[in-house]
């Protein structure tokens, strides 16, 4: 019962803050609303018994990526309202691209079999022990490959950010 109320509360906050990301005039408010959306999503993960995912979601998205976003917005001082006037063509293209993603999402959700997972092993998969075991045994290869991808991205970012000595 409590989880149901929590679900509706979190969903409402998530939806409202997601809409406010688009509607708010100041970029810094958008960033903060997006952070709030991430927190509500983390709440959903906890309701799904995926504590590890929830906390990692907060650490990575709210704690690292959004802080850097906030940082950039503050440094560039993008707090003047209505600074981003896009041309009609750009608005049209953006609407088209967004609409396509929306269609794809609806398509996937329609074919998705919405059934309640009753297998007790499946509801425990989000706990850190089970997740770690699965990642390091069944999916070891993709896991290690993605870590190499991450490392190369990091090195690449440092290389790009380095000042040219010449």
């Amino acid at each position: 019962m409590l989880t149901q109320y929590l679900f509706f509360f979190l969903s409402a906050v998530a939806l409202i803050s997601a809409v406010m990301v688009l509607l708010s005039k100041k970029p810094i408010h958008s960033v903060l609303y997006l952070t709030l959306t991430f927190f509500t999503l983390a709440g959903h993960y906890i309701l799904l018994n995926a504590q590890f995912l929830a906390v990692v979601h907060i650490i990575v998205y709210a704690g690292a990526i959004m802080v850097l976003f906030l940082f950039t917005v503050m440094l560039l001082n993008l707090n003047i309202e209505g600074e981003f006037q896009k041309s009609t063509l750009m608005k049209f293209v953006a609407a088209l691209a967004g609409g396509m993603i929306f269609l794809v999402l609806i398509g996937t959700l329609k074919s998705f079999d919405v059934s309640i997972v009753s297998n007790p092993e499946m509801t425990q998969i989000g706990l850190v022990k089970n997740l770690g075991k699965t990642l390091y045994s069944e999916y070891l290869m993709p896991f290690e490959l993605s870590s190499i991808l991450f490392l190369s991205a990091m090195v690449g970012a440092v290389m790009l950010g380095k000042k040219d000595k010449n």
């Binding site: 906390v55 650490i59 704690g63 690292a64 802080v67 850097l68 503050m74």
Partner: protein, 342 residues
């Protein structure tokens, strides 16, 4: 989930909240007394005996100060800043085990609000969102110095978070658990992690100074360069929240250091004294608070002894000094763990 359980958790949470606030309050007095001692003067001694009423007087003073808000400040964010700082400062206390278990009327009560199996990660998360309050407050003030302070605070906290997390990761590697309760329980008696993780401990301690924005890393509020840093435009209780959160952070950091490296509520010969279960638990909590007080003293000791770093020195030290040490410690720990433990 019965009403009994909820009531007990509520009482425990309220007690810990109250305790954090009172300890933070008296930490301000303690700090000023220590400062007096280091500078060969008496420190506050007018309000009450030994100045014991000084924190109360300070609080009342802050409450009655003028509430000032800069004309072009972002009103909502200006208030959100100090509130968030305070909230996040109080969050971490939920997963720290404040003692063993108490047996009352056949029931076992753990002195920990939430024994989650991801306690360490929860602490990471709280540390990583701690920067929001400072950044939002500094930006919303619409003041160059405040913004500079906020940007400095953010980059400093992000930089030192990495080395801090890595030193905690080594603890997780040796103990094989992400639950703070397990980590503390494994340090039973004198098997404290500090003996196996001396490098990790030093790195963690230095990072804790940086994360709490304390001297020698108090660049975000460096008076000589930035007036007051991110809280330049704040007055009254909003300023009080920022200052107060700093002391709560010291308290929580000391508690974390004690639990991760110094055995938390464990003390030597705890099972050889022939005391009852409850007595051991109470003594353990007393031991934990003795450790916390000691590390609180270390925080103040360092503040009044070392001069402030320069900003580029701070960054170089964080990235080129602490990070390699933390990484080397992690690799060495993994190596020894594989060689000797299995």
């Amino acid at each position: 989930m019965d009403i009994h359980f909820i009531l007990y958790k509520l009482i425990l949470a309220a007690a810990i909240l109250l305790l954090s606030l009172v300890i933070a309050m008296y930490a301000t007095l303690f700090e000023r007394k220590i400062a007096g001692f280091f500078q060969d003067r008496l420190g506050p001694n007018r309000a009450g005996t030994f100045g014991l009423l000084q924190p109360v007087a300070d609080g009342v003073k802050l409450f009655f100060k003028e509430e000032f808000m800069p004309a072009n400040a972002d009103k909502v964010l200006y208030i959100l800043g100090p509130s968030l700082t305070m909230l996040v400062a109080l969050l971490a206390s939920a997963v720290i085990p404040w003692g063993g278990t108490l047996m009352i009327g056949g029931h076992e009560y753990a002195l920990q609000v939430a024994d989650v199996n991801i306690g360490v990660l929860y602490v990471f998360a709280v540390i990583s969102i701690g920067v929001y309050g400072v950044m939002i407050g500094g930006w919303a003030s619409n003041n160059k110095y405040a913004l500079m302070g906020a940007v400095r605070a953010a980059s400093q906290m992000i930089s030192y978070e990495l080395a801090m997390s890595m030193s905690i990761v080594t603890i997780v590697m040796t103990s094989g658990s992400l639950s703070l309760n397990d980590i503390v329980a494994q340090q039973h008696g004198m098997n404290w992690n500090v003996f196996t993780q001396p490098i990790g401990f030093v790195v963690f301690l230095i990072c804790a100074f940086a994360e709490t924005n304390r001297s020698p890393f108090d660049l975000p509020e460096c008076e000589t360069e930035l007036i007051g840093g991110y809280h330049t435009e704040y007055s009254s209780m909003k300023l009080g929240f920022y200052l107060f959160a700093e002391y709560i952070n010291i308290f929580i950091s000391s508690a974390m250091i004690s639990s991760l490296y110094f055995g938390g509520y464990n003390f030597p010969f705890m099972n050889d004294l022939g005391l009852s279960h409850n007595m051991v638990t109470i003594l353990g909590t007393v031991a934990l608070f003795a450790k916390i007080s000691f590390f609180g003293f270390v925080f103040m000791w360092v503040r009044w002894t070392l001069p402030r770093f320069r900003y580029d020195q701070l960054m170089r030290f964080g990235w080129k000094g602490l990070m390699p040490w933390a990484m080397a410690n992690m690799i060495l720990t993994g190596f020894f763990h594989l060689l000797f433990k299995k």
